[in-house]
């Protein structure tokens, strides 16, 4: 019964996410609305962590296998990308290294600034 109750809450938030997706005219996935609503519910103590944690951990453990079919679908769009493959890989490598450096250095810079203030 505990598991069923937990699933009820999670599925309810999935539905609320869908409602938001239908009502708000932005290209934001229903799952993001649902996640933000769940976060708000947890922060406002409307839902307690223990009320969703077991079913949540179970669902999250499913993640990797949910992506198999979408990846296999690469067969369907292979013709669209096969000529640009090298360019795409270079773009992915360069942008990932840039993003890694920028996010890390900015976090460090802000963190240090705050640390200095604490010294004063």
């Amino acid at each position: 019964m505990k598991f069923l109750r937990q699933m009820c809450i999670i599925v309810l938030f999935s539905f609320l996410g869908e409602v938001c997706r239908a009502v708000i005219p932005f290209p934001i996935p229903a799952s993001i609305y649902g996640m933000v609503l769940m976060l708000a519910a947890l922060a406002l103590k409307i839902v307690k962590v223990e009320q969703v944690k077991d079913a949540g951990t179970f669902l999250v453990s499913f993640f990797p296998i949910l992506f198999i079919a979408p990846t296999v679908n690469l067969i369907a769009c292979w013709d669209d990308i096969k000529n640009d493959l090298l360019v795409l890989v270079v773009i992915i490598v360069v942008t990932t290294v840039l993003t890694f450096g920028v996010s890390g250095l900015v976090a460090q810079w802000i963190g240090r600034g705050k640390g200095d203030k604490n010294h004063d």
């Binding site: 290209p27 229903a30 649902g34 079913a55 296999v72």
Partner: protein, 230 residues
């Protein structure tokens, strides 16, 4: 025989789960991010579909039931995010600043490089969410009109780059403290990078995990705003 496999209700699902289970064992045995179970299992399945001449559409239809779990599972990311958030409140300014800068950098650099290299518009849209975790990136790609298959592959490659090059990049760029390292791993290379961050230190792993969810939300908000100008 092939006809039966193509029309079977459970063949596709069984194939996906069995092949993934084997790929997972393989990675645990060799412990290298290069043998990412998702990549290995997808490659094996593609090979089998081609060799056995089973239409991709049949496989997709058989796995359809799994896609039903994507939204509820993504929503559950909020649970661990909330717990990490409570524990890491103190570092929030640095985390938020790093994630914001990283997301802007990721989206901006992908956009500019794709324009410079004359990459097809749909392919570019598929690459935009490549630094966020697969669940969010795939859904966002679909919303934007991208090709989810390209997005998932780009996301896995991105994660592996962060996982493998991350420790070296930290040394080269003098990203020395545990918090900033976590922000870099989580923002640039989502869950796959986070698995490396956890090896560096528990705190780095926790910050990485917090950053990846935050980066996902920020990317969605920013893209929903930018999409109208693309």
């Amino acid at each position: 025989m092939i006809e039966f496999l193509s029309s079977s209700s459970f063949f596709a699902l069984a194939l996906a789960l069995v092949v993934y289970a084997f790929a997972d064992v393989l990675q645990k045995k060799f412990k290298t991010p290069l043998l990412n179970p998702l990549v290995v299992s997808s490659a094996v399945i593609i090979l089998l579909l081609v060799v056995l001449d089973i239409p991709n559409e049949r496989f997709q239809a058989g796995c359809q039931v799994l896609s039903y779990l994507l939204t509820p599972a993504t929503i559950c990311l909020a649970i661990s995010f909330y717990e990490k958030f409570q524990a890491l409140k103190h570092y929030l300014p640095a985390v938020i600043a790093g994630v914001l800068a990283g997301v802007v950098c990721s989206l901006g650099s992908v956009y500019i490089l794709c324009k410079v290299c004359h990459v097809d518009h749909t392919v570019m849209l598929s690459l935009m969410p490549k630094s966020v975790t697969t669940a969010i990136g795939m859904a966002l790609s679909a919303e934007l009109g991208g090709i989810t298959a390209i997005s998932t592959v780009a996301i896995v490659i991105t994660g592996n780059i962060g996982n493998m090059a991350g420790p070296t990049l930290c040394k080269l760029l003098h990203i020395d403290d545990e918090i900033s390292r976590g922000v870099a791993f989580g923002t640039a290379s989502h869950v796959i990078g986070t698995s490396k961050a956890i090896e560096l230190s528990q705190l780095t792993g926790a910050v990485s995990s917090l950053s990846l969810t935050l980066a996902g939300i920020v990317t969605c908000l920013l893209m929903s705003f930018l999409a109208q100008y693309m």
